[in-house]
Amino acid sequence: MRSLHLLILALSAGASVAFAADQTDLRGLEIATQADKRDEGFGDTTATLTMTLYSSRGETTQRRMRARILETESGDKRLIIFDEPGDVRGTAVLTHTHLDGSDDQWVYLPALERVKRIATAGKTGPFMGSEFAYEDLTAQEVARYTYKHLKDEPCSGGQCFVIERHPVNESSGYSRQIVWIDEAEFRVWRVEFYDRKDSLLKVLTFDGYQVFDERYWRARSMKMENVQTGKHTVIEWSGYKFGNGLTDAAFDPSRLADSR
C-alpha cells in the first residue's frame, strides 16, 4: 500500500521536478538544507500561542491555542488544541506532515464529539480567520520547494542570505516566496509571499529569537501582514518546552478525541 502510494507520488512528481531542475541552483538548496539540518534532533516541542487578528480598521480579535510538535523521520506531526474563543474551545487539529507536501489532516470538533479527516486542499485557506494559511504553519520541509540564491544583504538578524523558493506542490496558494535567512544561525527573519498571479500578497516577519538546548532557535513573535488588504495577524509564542517525551501514539488520529 505504502509503496504503491509512493510510486504514484514519484510518477506525478517526476514532471514537476524535471521542470524545476533548471530553476534550482545548488547554493539556494544548500542554504535551505543547512537551515533544516540546524533544527534536526529537537525531538518534541510544546508551546502556547496567542494569535491576534487586526482588521484594516484596527479592530482586534484574539485566539489562544496550544501546540504539540513531534519530529519524525517521515515529517513532523503537529497537534493544535484551541482554548479560546470559548465556542471553539477543545477543537483540535492534527497534521501529519509529509516531505512532499501531501499532508494528512484530521480535526476533532467537540460540539459534535467527532473526528473528521479533512481534504488537504483546505491548507491554502486561512487559519482561523487569520492572515496565516494552514500551509504557512506546517513544517517547511526542504523537499517542498525548489530554491534559488538571489543575493546576500543586511537584515534584522545581521547579514542574510536571500533565497527564492517555488512550491513543488501545485495545490500551494503561492507562486513563490522570498526568504531572508541569517548567515550566522540560519534563522528565518522575513518571508515574502507572492500569490498565484505573482503579485506580492503577504509579508511575514520574525522577532525575539530565543535559543533552547543551546541549539534550537525559536521566534517569540511572528507577524503576518497582508499587503493587499491591510489586515495583519500576530502570533506570540510562549512556554516553549523541549524533550516532553511525546510519543507517536499521542499523535494518532484515533486518540484525537482525548486531546486536552
Binding site: T61, D104, E113, I118, T120, G122, M128, G129, R260
Partner: protein
C-alpha cells in the same frame, strides 16, 4: 425524567468537586449557557394537533477535566429546562470518566460518547450510544453510555474493546408534543428481549487504521439494540399505550474514507442480525472542497450521499432508509468563525423531502448566535414521518461561554 434530572444535578456537583477539589494546574471547568426560542409550523389537517407552537427553553452544559500525569478525569453534564413538555425538561451525563494511559494502552471507565463512522447524513456503523431525540429529532445528539474500555495502538492500527454493563433507553417527547417519532399513545414501560433487561452486558470492538489517504474502520457489536420497535398494549383502565421493545442484536460494520486533495470518498456498511434475521445497510458519499470561493476567504464543501438501510427497526422510523442526501457546508474562515450548513434528504421510495439549515456566528468574544430550521416540506401519508408533518420549525439561540482560564 425528573429523577434523572436530580441524579444529573448530583453528578454535576460530583464532577465539579472531583475536578476542582485541589486547584491543580492541569484542570479546568467550562460552562455554556443558552436560551432558545422555537416556532413550529402551522397545523395541518390529518395529523394529531400539537399542544403548542412556540417553545422557549434554557440549556446549559458544564464540562470539567483534570489531568494527573498519565491519568485524567473528565465530566460533561447537560441540562435543558423547557417552557412546555415535561420530557423536554431533561438532563444527561454526557461524560464522566477516568482515563489512564500506559503506552500502548488506554483504559477508560465511566460514561462516554463514542462516535464511529465517516458519512455526514446516515450513521450506519455508529451503535454505541443511545440517541437523544428530544434534543435532536434527526438523531445526531447522543446520550452518555456507561462503559469500560481498553484501546491499544501500534504500527498496525488501533484496537478498542468495550464492555457496556448498563443499557439506557431512548427518551421521547410527550404525546401532543412536536417531533415525536413514536406511535401516538402514552409510553409504557420498556420491554427487553434479554432476560437481564437493561443490565444485559453489551460488548463491542473496533479496529481502525489510517494509512496514506485511507482511513478504515472495522467494528462489531453484540448486545441490546439502541433502536426500539413499538408494541401496542392496553393499560388496566383500557387506554392504549406503546411499549418500546429493545431486541438483542449483533452488528458487523465497516467504514472507509479515501481523501484525495479536494475530494473525499466515503462508504459505511453494516450487517445486523436480530430476531433470527440478517439485514444489511450501506451508505456511500462523495465530498468536494472548494477553498476561497468567489474571492472570499470562505470554504465550500459540497456533499452528495445515498443510503439504503434495510434494518428493522431503523435508527429513526421512516427516516434515511432509501434516501438521496445533498448538502453544503460553508466555513467563513472569518474572525467570527461563521458557519452555514444546508442539508436536504429525498426519500426515493415514499417521495418525501426534509430540509435542515443551520447558521452560527460569534457576535461578541464569548457569545454565539445560532439559527436553525428543520423543514418537512413534503411528507407522503405512507411515510412513518407523517407524524412529523406539522413539526417544521425555526429556532434562534444565543449561547454564552464561561471559561475557566486554560492551563
Amino acid at each position: 425524567m425528573g429523577r434523572s434530572m436530580a441524579n444529573d444535578g448530583r453528578a454535576l456537583c460530583l464532577v465539579a468537586a472531583m475536578v476542582l477539589a485541589t486547584g491543580a494546574r492541569a484542570s479546568h471547568c467550562d460552562l455554556t449557557a443558552g436560551v432558545e426560542a422555537r416556532r413550529y409550523s402551522d397545523q395541518e389537517a390529518g395529523v394529531p394537533p400539537r399542544d403548542y407552537r412556540t417553545l422557549a427553553s434554557v440549556q446549559s452544559e458544564l464540562s470539567c477535566s483534570r489531568s494527573y500525569g498519565s491519568q485524567s478525569v473528565s465530566g460533561k453534564v447537560f441540562g435543558r429546562w423547557a417552557q412546555h413538555g415535561s420530557e423536554r425538561t431533561h438532563g444527561d451525563i454526557r461524560e464522566l470518566q477516568w482515563l489512564w494511559t500506559r503506552e500502548p494502552f488506554q483504559f477508560r471507565a465511566g460514561i462516554d460518547r463514542v462516535f464511529w463512522g465517516v458519512t455526514e447524513f446516515a450513521h450506519i456503523v455508529d451503535v454505541i450510544n443511545q440517541a437523544d431525540i428530544v434534543e435532536d429529532p434527526f438523531g445526531e445528539t447522543k446520550i452518555g453510555q456507561p462503559m469500560l474500555s481498553v484501546t491499544t495502538r501500534g504500527a498496525w492500527g488501533s484496537l478498542s474493546i468495550y464492555g457496556m454493563p448498563r443499557f439506557r433507553v431512548r427518551g421521547f417527547p410527550d404525546v401532543g408534543e412536536p417531533m415525536r417519532p413514536a406511535p401516538p399513545f402514552g409510553l409504557g414501560a420498556a420491554v427487553f428481549e434479554s432476560r437481564d433487561g437493561r443490565r444485559h452486558l453489551d460488548g463491542a470492538m473496533r479496529y481502525s487504521r489510517s494509512q496514506g489517504p485511507v482511513d478504515i474502520g472495522l467494528s462489531y457489536f453484540e448486545g441490546t439494540s439502541r433502536d426500539p420497535k413499538f408494541l401496542i398494549g392496553v393499560t388496566a383502565s383500557g387506554v392504549p399505550e406503546s411499549h418500546p421493545y429493545y431486541e438483542l442484536m449483533s452488528q458487523a460494520g465497516v467504514d472507509v474514507q479515501l481523501t484525495l486533495d479536494e475530494w473525499a470518498f466515503k462508504f459505511e456498511g453494516a450487517r445486523r442480525h436480530a430476531a433470527q434475521r440478517s439485514r444489511n445497510a450501506y451508505t456511500v458519499g462523495i465530498e468536494y472542497a472548494m477553498v476561497g470561493i468567489l474571492g472570499t476567504s470562505a470554504d465550500l464543501i459540497s456533499i452528495l450521499e445515498y443510503v439504503r438501510d434495510r434494518r428493522d427497526p431503523l435508527p429513526l422510523p421512516g427516516f434515511l432508509d432509501d434516501d438521496l442526501e445533498f448538502g453544503f457546508r460553508i466555513a467563513g474562515n472569518d474572525s467570527r468563525t461563521s458557519e452555514l450548513k444546508l442539508g436536504v434528504t429525498f426519500d426515493r421510495r415514499r417521495d418525501s423531502r426534509a430540509w435542515s439549515l443551520e447558521f452560527g456566528t460569534r457576535i461578541a468574544a464569548r457569545w454565539r448566535l445560532n439559527a436553525q430550521a428543520r423543514v418537512f416540506d413534503k411528507v407522503s401519508p405512507r411515510d412513518p414521518l407523517t407524524v412529523l408533518k406539522n413539526d417544521s420549525y425555526l429556532s434562534l439561540s444565543l449561547v454564552r461561554y464561561f471559561l475557566s482560564p486554560s492551563q
